[in-house]
């Protein structure tokens, strides 16, 4: 029957509801700061957000948002192509284009809509899309809608990408290659220099999703492409306002003037209401802060280094390099769930990630750092992880 396919998920939810707090969808009762909150009655350090620069609770952003709500009202009630283009949206687009040093930008209502919409539209039925095997759900959803031929390359493997472009022959010139700046689950950075060189060699196009890297990487915070020095090779960048900028919404930018025409072909842009002006105003303020306070980026990386080194010294299986996302891998599902609960009981909220959201059959405790975390908070997180080892709820990596 129609609902049979949901049974496995229903069983999993029942299993998790044996306790009053669920790792998926735990309810935040109160926000104390960018890094602390009360989650279902317990005061916790928030180490499972994407609040990389700590801007979600910045007084300047809140004030801008309040002023815009008073001036423009709470919502636009319509699409950008109908009644929903306010001066705020247009101003943010100009500021995003300026931030990236390009001619055009599009603002979307969510990051998901931006990525999905661009991936669904830029390549069409006669074209080819080459996407990283570990791409985010919004990329997979988008390419499915595109009508293009869809081929996966092995995660962050320039060799595999090159092989596949070679196999395409003349069609390489009609191919859109898709990569992410920082991959959200393990925090690894894409080898964009190598990818750009291959893209250039075969005359393909490149779209980079900087959802987790905008504001986080690059000399001025433009992301992984800037950090890799290959911005001229990137045809389209998409990203989100929901992480480093602490609000909600998404964007696409391009050095190709055609982006302004593509805008009118993106369903996820046309057939949805535009962002509330209050949200747009806070994003504009956050972008100003990103430009004016590069020290936030430095603090974020210092914090990431502190957490990464701390967990690595405990012998926990973390990734190969420091990143604002520090994931601890588990092979055993029960152990991962029990570990999540113990961290929560120790006052630390992290993300539990299960397949297929994790890139392998492993389970993850995904920790994300913020520029707003204090060294004391990070040490508290590390101590909570030590507690997992003491309780036999985590397995140290054998002599790395």
């Amino acid at each position: 029957m129609l609902f049979d396919k949901f049974q496995a998920m229903a069983d999993f939810q029942t299993e998790l509801s044996r306790r009053d707090v669920k790792p998926f969808g735990a309810i935040t009762d109160e926000v104390i700061s960018a890094t602390e909150g009360v989650v279902q009655g317990r005061r916790v350090i928030l180490a499972g957000t994407n609040n990389y620069l700590g801007l979600s609770y910045d007084p300047r952003c809140i004030e801008a948002s309040q002023a815009a709500a008073a001036q423009w009202g709470t919502g636009t009630t319509g699409s950008r192509l109908a009644n929903g283009s306010f001066a705020e949206h247009v101003a943010l687009e100009a500021e995003m284009a300026d931030f990236y040093g390009v001619g055009q930008a599009i603002v979307f209502s969510t990051g998901y809509a931006a990525t999905m919409g661009m991936c669904a539209t830029v390549a069409g039925p006669d074209d080819v899309i080459l996407l990283d095997a570990d791409s985010h759900s919004s990329i997979y959803s988008g390419v499915k809608l595109s009508g293009a031929e869809i081929i996966r390359y092995r995660h962050s493997s320039p060799d595999d990408l090159a092989k596949r472009l070679r196999r395409l022959g003349d069609r390489a010139g009609r191919t859109l290659v898709i990569a992410e700046g920082i991959y959200s689950m393990l925090g690894d950075v894409a080898p964009l220099q190598e990818i750009a060189a291959i893209k250039r060699e075969y005359g393909a196009y490149l779209l980079v999703d900087e959802a987790h890297s905008m504001g986080v990487l690059g000399e001025t915070g433009r992301g992984a492409a800037q950090a890799a020095g290959i911005e001229d090779d990137v045809d389209f960048i998409v990203g989100t306002f929901s992480k480093s900028l602490g609000a909600v919404g998404g964007f696409a930018i391009s050095r190709h003037a055609i982006l302004d025409t593509i805008r009118y072909c993106i369903r996820a842009y046309i057939f949805t209401a535009s962002s509330s002006p209050s949200v747009v105003a806070s994003v504009r303020q956050a972008l100003r802060i990103v430009r004016e306070e590069p020290e936030r980026r430095e603090r974020l990386w210092d914090n990431a280094t502190r957490l990464y080194n701390g967990l690595r010294e405990l012998g926990l299986p973390v990734g190969p390099a420091v990143s604002p996302v520090v994931a601890v891998e588990f092979t055993d599902r029960e152990q991962a769930i029990a570990a999540w609960y113990q961290l929560f009981d120790s006052g630390v909220y992290v993300n539990l990630v299960v397949p297929p959201a994790s890139p392998s059959t492993n389970f993850l405790l995904r920790n994300s750092m913020s520029a707003a975390h204090t060294p004391q908070q990070i040490d508290h997180i590390i101590t909570a992880y030590r507690g997992l080892l003491d309780a036999g709820l985590a397995t140290p990596k054998t002599a790395a």
Binding site: E149, R164, P356
Partner: protein, 92 residues
Amino acid sequence: MTTFGEKAVNDNGSGYQTYLAFLCELLQKHNRQQVTIGESTGLVTDLGLSSLEVMELIEQTEDHFDISIPLNILPDVNTVADLAQKIQQLRG
């Protein structure tokens, strides 16, 4: 890696039998229920492959025959024969 070559099996030059034999051998590793693997064996229905295992099978096949198998064809692939036919078309 298997040693199946292009000409290893007599299949009138179409390659189909070669692809079939390659897939059957590769799938032995996933044969948890010890079923007899043949053309009509279902990858998910009979062998219970997870989506990760299907992708692994696709990647190994791609490497071996130097092809790319588009994701678009996967909804049409249920059995070993379906996949062998797709490889044949892609190499055609």
